[in-house]
């Protein structure tokens, strides 16, 4: 007796598959690689069934590129495109962390100001040669250290050992009084971020408050903390440290650029092809070989083209200055993308994140430590947000009382949602943050070039986010309706 899948009507793929499905016993169909045509039809079916994946973001990006290129001669120049990459990089990185929280159907509204706190500590440490006691004042300084220690204890209590180590390391760096060193400051920023995440995560998972309320409260509180520790100091410039300033404002040399290409695009192609043929060998479900090869070639070609263009001199005044090479933010984002995707796809921990996001009760019954998973995603989110803070502080070249405030959070959550990560949990990938970040950065950059002021830019950015959230909600309704 055949029981054809009722859900998205088109998921039953092409007519060929639907007809043979019942006749082939014991999953015989799994062992045969489908033809490219069938795979494409299958894909169209999934899209029509509501599983849009990155399609809306890619389409949106393409449309935006066409519109802005035709309206502004300055948009599609090498210099502007390279600039665009580092413009949205900080928020994109924060969004990559937020994806983990969104996967559980939770939200972290405090990621923006939490990143601001880490930026403030970073700048303060740099500015006062490692002596945080003096600028912070005794009470604030020790309160800060104690909070980090408590965060470490909470993480240890939940057996999130990495979180505990980072949080305690943050307290250690603060107490040690080691002098200014850009690398130390970056580590400190991430450690503070981890500590913040431990607190948020514990409040959500163990105390049981809704993440919306916890992070809304912390959003306000962290803003206050930023004002408390650097609000009276005006703008703290971090240009004095070449390393910190270069993070978002400098480029790899030609050799480094090509190394990034080989490691990134080459690595992607190698992994995709290797896994594909191993699956085929073992008789597992696999995509058609043609499709996989085409995918690898497209990524290689696009990567090579982009790398080549970026190694050209793109200075607006080529006679006076030379600007060339892949911006540093590209390998930073690529590294986070690879690590995040690897964790989500290839480890038990990542699988459990999806499970908890899909059905918390089912995950609990399967023996998954749901509380620990829920706490850990906030730790990841805030730690990654600290990396984002390093990048956006570097881009601006200074840190002031508004660090991580304003649109930072809207941008980060928006980027993840526009990229295709669901606000309802269980669906999303780290690459969504990168795609969505690119869309938002393009909107801001393009509208800026066309001479729009802040008012219309914000309205349009908000509308883009609204459209993305609507697409998410509607596609979800479509996949659920049977």
């Amino acid at each position: 007796m055949t029981d054809s899948p009722t859900a998205p009507p088109a998921t039953s793929a092409g007519p060929g598959v639907a007809d043979t499905g019942s006749a082939i016993s014991d999953f015989g169909i799994d062992t045969t690689s489908r033809s490219t045509g069938e795979a494409l039809r299958d894909y169209v079916g999934r899209v029509r069934g509501g599983e849009l994946g990155p399609l809306p973001a890619l389409l949106g990006l393409a449309i935006l590129l066409v519109i802005f290129s035709s309206l502004s001669g300055n948009f599609f120049t090498l210099n502007n495109i390279a600039n665009l990459m580092s413009q949205g990089a900080g928020e994109t990185i924060i969004a990559m962390g937020i994806v983990f929280v969104l996967l559980l159907g939770e939200i972290d509204l405090s990621a923006g100001t939490a990143s601001g706190v880490t930026a403030a500590v970073l700048a303060l440490h740099l500015f006062n040669d490692g002596n945080l006691l003096k600028p912070m004042g005794t009470a604030v300084y020790y309160a800060f250290v104690i909070v980090l220690v408590v965060a470490a204890l909470l993480a240890a209590f939940m057996r999130i050992w990495i979180g505990a180590v980072f949080a305690i390391a943050g307290a250690g760096i603060m107490l040690s009084g080691l002098g200014a060193n850009p690398w130390l400051e970056m580590v400190l920023a991430v450690c503070v971020g981890t500590g913040i995440g431990c607190l948020t995560g514990f409040l959500v998972s163990k105390v049981g408050m809704p993440s919306f309320v916890v992070t809304l409260a912390l959003f306000i509180a962290w803003y206050g903390v930023i004002l408390q520790i650097i609000g009276g100091l005006g703008e703290l410039s971090i240009r004095q440290s070449p390393v910190l300033f270069d993070v978002a404002n400098s480029n790899l040399d030609a050799l480094g650029s090509w190394i990034v290409f080989v490691a990134g695009a080459g690595g992607f192609a190698a992994v995709v092809l290797f896994r594909h043929f191993r699956r085929l060998n073992k008789g597992l479900v696999a995509q058609p070989t043609t499709l996989v090869v085409v995918k690898a070639i497209v990524v290689l070609a696009l990567g090579a083209g982009a790398t080549y263009l970026l190694t050209l001199n793109r200075s607006p005044n080529p006679d006076l200055t030379t600007i060339s090479g892949v911006p540093y933010v590209v390998p930073i984002i690529l590294a986070l993308l690879v690590i995040g995707t690897f964790v989500l796809d290839r480890t038990r921990y990542g699988r459990h994140i999806y499970a908890v996001g899909g059905n918390r009760e089912a995950a609990r019954r399967a023996g998954i430590n749901v509380d620990k998973i829920r706490m850990s995603v906030f730790v990841i989110c805030s730690s990654v947000a600290a990396v984002g803070a390093i990048v956006f502080s570097s881009k601006v070249g200074e840190v002031d009382g508004t660090a991580g405030n304003g649109n930072t959070l809207l941008f980060a959550v928006g980027a993840a949602v526009i990229g295709g990560t669901s606000l309802f949990g269980g669906k999303g990938r780290v690459r969504d943050a990168v795609l969505g970040g690119a869309v938002l950065a393009t909107v801001q950059n393009g509208l800026g070039l066309l001479g729009f002021q802040a008012a219309p830019v914000n309205i349009i950015t908000g509308l883009v986010l609204l459209v993305a959230a609507a697409v998410d909600a509607l596609s979800r309704r479509k996949t659920i309706a049977h």
């Binding site: 899948p5 014991d26 799994d30 480890t347 699988r351 999806y354 499970a355 059905n359 995950a363 049977h482």
Partner: protein, 257 residues
């Protein structure tokens, strides 16, 4: 006659002042389907949860393969080979069939998920149960029908060399054709030598697949008899009144609650 694989003797369970299970005895035999029937509130689900280690027992003895065992949590039950398929399925819709079947017990290779091993094992298990209604083991559960989901949930429970499978109303929400599939699957579990406990409200289902029928009445085991020795109306009387002629509990004035 098959060997008893799981025996409960004199199980008592109270929630505060409410005495839910009174000296319940139950024998589950390998290779047989034991139907557990009873009206709402008779204690069926509580009994299953006690067996599964979700609730502790106040008193009583559990013999598993003839040996006394103590089950205090679901992991211990799973370690013995006792699996429960819950009424509300407990599947993650956003994961595919393989991922759901191995949820919480993923196989790893050097610390990474061993997708190949899991996919092959899942396919083998489904094939051994003659499940042929699913197109691919990589289909997302959200794209499956109710019957297919129930099939996956049941297949999940036999993946672990389990010896006893408890099914809590597996056909409650299914249409005719899908119920048919699931009942066939239940039968096949028993044919593979598992002890199957089927909770159901549907007398047709019970008479169709079960070898024995155990009837709970207000927390007491009214009768546990071979299906072929019982008639429809006798079972209904046992469920509603606790006795039917000579069968079942003694008269209520003797067995005061």
């Amino acid at each position: 006659m098959n060997e008893p694989i799981l025996e409960l003797r004199g199980i008592n369970k109270s929630f505060g002042p409410v005495h839910v299970l009174h000296d319940v005895d139950l024998t589950v035999r390998a290779g047989e389907v034991t139907a557990l029937v009873g009206d709402n509130g008779a204690g069926k689900s509580t009994l299953v949860k006690c067996i599964a280690g979700i609730h502790g027992m106040d008193s009583g003895e559990v013999l598993f393969e003839g040996q006394p065992v103590h089950v205090h949590n679901p992991r211990q039950a799973a370690a013995l080979g006792i699996e429960v398929v819950y009424q509300d399925l407990a599947l993650c819709e956003n994961l595919d069939i393989v991922q759901n079947m191995f949820l919480g017990r993923e196989r790893t290779d050097n610390g990474l998920l061993d997708e190949a091993a899991m996919e092959l094992a899942a396919r083998k298990t489904l094939a051994s149960l003659s499940v042929r209604t699913v197109k691919s083991v990589r289909t997302l559960v959200s794209a499956l029908s109710g019957g297919q989901r129930q099939t996956v949930a049941i297949a999940k429970s036999v993946l672990w060399d389990s010896k006893v499978v408890l099914l809590d109303e597996p056909t409650a929400a299914l249409g005719v054709a899908q119920t048919r599939q699931v009942l066939d699957l239940v039968r096949r579990l028993a044919e593979q030598g598992l002890g199957v406990v089927l909770i159901s409200h549907n007398m047709n289902d019970v008479f169709e697949v079960s070898d024995r029928i155990a009837t709970l009445f207000l927390g007491r085991m009214a009768a546990q008899l071979p299906t072929k020795d019982l008639t429809h109306s006798q079972v209904v009387e046992l469920i509603t009144a606790g006795r039917s002629g000579d069968l079942g509990l003694a008269r209520p004035d003797v067995a005061t609650v």
